[in-house]
Amino acid sequence: MDEAMSYPPIEPANFDLIVIGTGLPESILAAAASSSGKTVLHLDPNPYYGSHFASLHLHDFTEFLQTHSLPSAPETQPSSSGEFNVLPLTTSPVYSSIETSVFSPEILQQSNQFNLDLAGPRVLFCADKMIDLILKTEINHCMEFKSVDASFICEGEEGNLRNVPDSRSAIFKDKSLSFTEKNQLMRFFKLVQDHFGDGSDEESKKISEEDLKSPFVEFLSRKIGLSQKLKSIILYAISMAHYEQDNLEVCKDVLETKDGIDLLILYHKSGGRFPNAPGAMIYPLYGQGELLQAFCRRAAVKGSIHVLRMPVVGLLADKEVGNYKGVKLLSGQELFSHKLILDPSFILPSGFAPSYLYPEPDGGHDFGLLDEKVKVVRGICITKSSLKLDVANCLVFFPPRSLFAEQMTSVRVFQLSSNVAACPSGMFVVYLSTLCEDVGQGKKIVNEAMNALFSIPISGKPEENSTDSHGENTVLGLKPSLLWSTVYIQELTMGAFGCVSSTFMPDGNLQYNNLLDATTKLFHKMYPNEEFFPEATSSIEVAEDGAFEQLDS
């Protein structure tokens, strides 16, 4: 085999754990295992880190989607080598219905200047568990973050973006709320803060258990008496409910008051956690892919071995019992480990049926996983002007029914600018996502959201004027026009634990909480006696223009 020459042999050949795929869950697990003193080998067939969580150049991005929209052909036949059976390893398609439109082919020349997230839109809340983990593992030293400048809610087809009054000062500044609404909203925020306040003596300020279990939408309207407008803001733009909550009988995922206010308090604690991050949310410079790379670096510091461009063709199973023993690389080298973790696109060979699925089917709703039919629709748009004048990085929420009557899920939109190196300067990358069961319906929702936000050039006739009028669109109140866009369906998968475990696809949420929870759970299943990153904390630095410097003498 000629090819074998290009794959250097890996030394040693025995590990505690082999991880295939460098997605975020795999990278965290590799780092956690090596922190606990395990020997870890981390492999990825691609020349870059990240798997389904990667941030890729435009060209690599489309190629990755294409590759994973088809089932892979086995590179090896079932065979036996020595004392093991070789079970061929294949992947199943996780992306489908990819629709890419190129309105302005020039941008393909700048492919390398884009860092597009496969798992977008996604942000970090300054007070969320992921940030805590980043601080605990001290990987913040190799990352930089930027604040998300604003979040908006978009109601009605005109695409008018209204600020989400998510904090005290945002309520103060808001121009679209009535004075009474300002009062009501702030009082509600205070009620939630009091509930979480450390004044345990003030039992009266706690929200009752009964209320906590009630649907959040009912709590907001019956107990608090908020207007439809305020309810919509809280439910879909702050607590980020996936599904329309007004009609509780048909709602697939009713947001409980407890979960609703948990998110609200996360939002609240996030604003101002770091003095140099004014907003509640931050985003890593160079894209989400930085996060998992930081975990890989952390794993490497603790002694794990990482090899990219290293396809695995088969798994080795004990001939007699059928137990997992190791992996066979494309180079033909055989490596052995006690445990194996696979990225979610791999098909678990039939011999290794999982003993445990997670998140548990009943806990799956946190994950956007109600049943196997649920999928995520993701879209990416590239434009030359911002959705909102003078705003670089921002979130936009389309509550259910805001685009059309049958729209039952909310759409999250996340615009990034060149200041996080998402795109060349002067351009903007906008991510969209929503959940769906019916692919057609899901794509319709995302397409309608795109219609509401952008002017879409008639294909084949790229607008000549759009090139010399960058930035002016918003001045004139015109929508930014699209240079490039793609819409695709991504599968949601369960993770599996067994002698061979597998991780999961990016969920439909805007933040990392549930992904991290599921990852932590898998780690504890695999290593019940080990602590998940037994280390100390430090502080975080956010790269801000005019960042705070200490007064120097």
């Binding site: 103060f172 004075f179 009474t180 009062n183 702030m186 705070f548 003498s553």
Partner: protein
């Protein structure tokens, strides 16, 4: 900074502080050595800098630096470079001191002192301020300094106003930012800078701006403070004269008031003229106020401010008109015309000039001959018991005298302003009600009460009448009543406000005023009319509305909860005053009485004078020890040893010519005290129930 609980120091911290203290003492000792020998060497300055960095609060250290700088500057003469290096070093020392404590007065002051010399660049200052305000956006030292720097750099007020807007957007719980906004806006409005005119437009915008804060977080005080300032700006009345005695259009028989003249025995043809203004003013004299009479009248009038302080400002001004010669036509009424502000010399306490002239006139009837005023040997004791008062049938001439309200003519411009402002306040009232319908909010209620009162003032001013019985009074009283229950710590404040509004309501027009007027059983020689204003048992805690009471000669305020009689000094015609059964705690609370030179009968029985070992008001009162007092040493010596105990009683009574005094029922009123009073007031005929020889 804010909301951080104080923790007890740990053992290590205590140890560290002991070590720090020892170090500080040793440096301080070194420093004093240099200081006492006037040593300003480099080494000495370094020691001082180190000391100040450790303890920026050490004022002597800063003063030493100033001496050192002066010393070195002299040596440097006019060499720009060395001057600059000397001063730059100072700025550096201040900066490191501020890093230790950015709230050090001494450090900020030193920096100002250096910059004021004008040799240093101010470029770094705003940068520095930005850092300090990032640390604590409310730090008022930084805001103070900011005003200093922006003045030095000539930064336009508009720009600074925008800065306050930005800071408030960041966090509106910033009293300093709101305060600076009010300072800047005052200037912009005064100078009528483009975009800040007309005032009404600016006020409307500002009310809307601060409303965002009030609605978003009604529990935060800073916005309410700014709102109160705005309210004050909106309700400011341009016209000053409120009332007078004799009232406009009245007819006065001069002989009826002869007893009130300052010099009793001589001429009886004098008449007091009292002017009452909407606020304390200064500059009332014969050039700003012209008084013209058809008859011969001494035109050289001496105006006296009726005020307990010596600021020269007062709400009430008094002069005596003296009609010197025999009238040509004894039976005729002579017209007296008074014109106010015929020159722009009248200044209000806020500093603006009164330029709206007011005119009034009354007629006087002069006695045909000089009748000697005779007190008569047998003067009856005034008995305040109810049976001595009968409800009154007023003669029409009396009515004219009671009605001291001026019918003021308001210029068209002002009228329009008042109307616009009343509209602004009306809108605020609506919003305030909206907020209160959402939630219970003490300061919201208080503000609503203030708004309603302001609306009343503005709308009646715009109509040019002041005797309107406003329907809102009832609501205001209810609000204060609620507040007394809701907010017990501030009970007394609400009670005082309640009293003022209540009096406003009751004395608002002639009809309701007359309900409180009673006739004393028989006319006394003390007062020409025996009409008594009887405000007893109304649970008042304060007196208000005095501008409507200038005519009062006999006043019964007994059986209330009065603690303060501030304002009573304006009632210059007052002869008989009943303050019995109130809550007056000290003689110092009676200070306004010193100015009531006509007072003959005083009842302060059954109060709390002497009940409280500590008189919290005493420091307000002139004492023999205070350098501002007009005590005469002789008096002090003559009056004997009791003076050391009763000096405050002495200060109130010594200038009065009381004939009847009741003090019984006060803890202080023992035998010794009564003896002291007899000695102090030789003309006194009655003390409590006893007739004196």
């Amino acid at each position: 900074m804010h909301g951080r609980p104080r923790k007890a120091p740990t053992e290590e911290e205590q140890e560290a502080s002991v070590v720090k203290g020892a170090k500080l003492r040793s440096i301080q000792a070194k420093f004093f050595q240099f200081h006492h020998t006037n040593t300003y060497t480099k080494e000495a300055l370094e020691v001082n800098a180190k000391l100040l960095e450790m303890n920026p609060e050490f004022i002597t250290g800063w003063n030493y630096r100033k001496l050192a700088v002066q010393y070195h500057l002299e040596a440097a003469q006019s060499d720009e470079d060395s001057i600059k290096s000397i001063l730059d070093e100072e700025l550096k020392v201040v900066e490191s001191a501020l890093m230790t404590n950015f709230k050090s007065y001494g450090a900020w002051h030193h920096r100002k002192w250096v910059l004021n010399m004008g040799h240093s660049s101010t470029d770094r200052e705003l940068f520095l301020l930005k850092k300090f305000q990032k640390l604590d956006a409310r730090n008022f030292h930084a805001w103070n300094y900011r005003r200093f720097v922006t003045a030095l750099k000539n930064i336009p007020d508009e720009e600074e106003l925008q800065y306050t807007t930005d800071m408030i957007y960041e966090n509106f719980s910033n009293y300093s930012a709101w305060h600076n906004r009010s300072v800047l806006l005052s200037r912009l409005l005064k100078e009528e800078v483009e975009g800040y005119y007309p005032k009404e437009k600016v006020l409307t915008e500002e009310f809307e701006f601060v409303r965002n804060a009030l609605f978003t977080d009604p529990d935060d005080q800073s916005g309410w403070f700014y709102h109160l300032w705005l309210l004050d700006q909106t309700v400011k009345l341009e016209h000053l004269l409120v009332s007078s005695w004799p009232p406009n259009g009245s007819n006065v028989n001069v002989s009826d008031y002869c007893a009130l003249s300052p010099s009793l025995s001589s001429i009886s043809r004098t008449l007091p003229l009292i002017l009452c203004f909407s606020e304390a003013v200064g500059g009332i004299n014969s050039s700003t106020v012209s008084v013209v009479c058809e008859s011969n009248m001494d035109s050289n009038l001496i105006w006296t401010p009726i005020s307990v302080d010596k600021s020269g400002l007062a709400r009430t001004w008094l002069t005596y008109l003296t009609f010197s010669s025999e009238p040509m036509h004894p039976s005729r009424n002579y017209l007296v015309k008074v014109s106010i502000a015929n020159s722009e010399g009248i200044i209000s306490s806020a500093g603006f000039c009164c330029s709206n002239p007011s005119h009034m006139a009354f007629t006087v009837c002069l006695p045909s001959s000089n009748t000697e005023f005779d007190e008569g040997p047998d003067i009856e004791r005034i008995d305040w018991s109810e049976e001595n008062f009968s409800s009154n049938q007023l003669h029409s001439e009396n009515l004219g005298l009671i009605n001291s309200f001026n019918e003021l003519t308001i210029s068209g411009d002002n009228k329009k302003t008042y109307e616009t402002n009343a509209k602004i306040i009306a809108d605020e009232i609506d919003y305030c009600r909206e907020l209160l319908s959402e939630m219970d909010c003490k300061i919201g209620k208080l503000t609503l009460a203030r708004l309603l009162l302001a609306y009343d003032a503005l709308s009646s001013a715009s109509r040019g009448v002041q005797d309107q019985n406003m329907f809102q009074y009832k609501e205001i009283l209810e609000l204060y009543h609620d507040l007394m229950k809701l907010d017990p710590p501030h009970f007394q404040y609400y009670k005082d406000q309640y009293s003022l509004v209540f009096l406003k309501q009751e004395l608002a027009n002639e009809e309701s005023l007359l309900k409180y007027c009673y006739q004393y059983r028989d006319s006394t020689s003390l007062s020409n009319n025996s009409l008594c204003l009887c405000l007893r048992g109304l649970s008042l805690s304060q007196i208000g509305c005095i501008e409507r009471l200038l005519w009062v000669q006999m006043l019964d305020l007994s059986n209330n909860g009065i603690r303060s009689i501030e304002g009573l000094e304006s009632l210059q015609l007052l002869c008989c005053l009943n303050l019995s059964n109130n809550k007056i705690c000290s003689f110092s609370a009676l200070e306004p009485l010193r100015l009531l030179k006509s007072l003959k009968v005083l009842d302060i029985s059954h109060n709390e004078i002497g009940a409280h070992p500590i008189d919290t008001r005493r420091y307000l009162c002139a004492s023999p020890l205070s350098h501002t007092s007009d005590w005469k040493r002789e008096e002090f010596v003559v009056s004997g040893p009791e003076m050391t105990i009763y000096w405050d009683a002495f200060s109130i009574f010594s200038g009065l010519n009381l004939r009847q005094l009741s003090v019984t029922g006060n803890p202080i009123a023992d035998k010794k005290f009564k003896l002291f009073l007899c000695k102090l007031l030789p003309a006194m005929k009655w003390l409590d129930d006893e007739k004196l020889r």
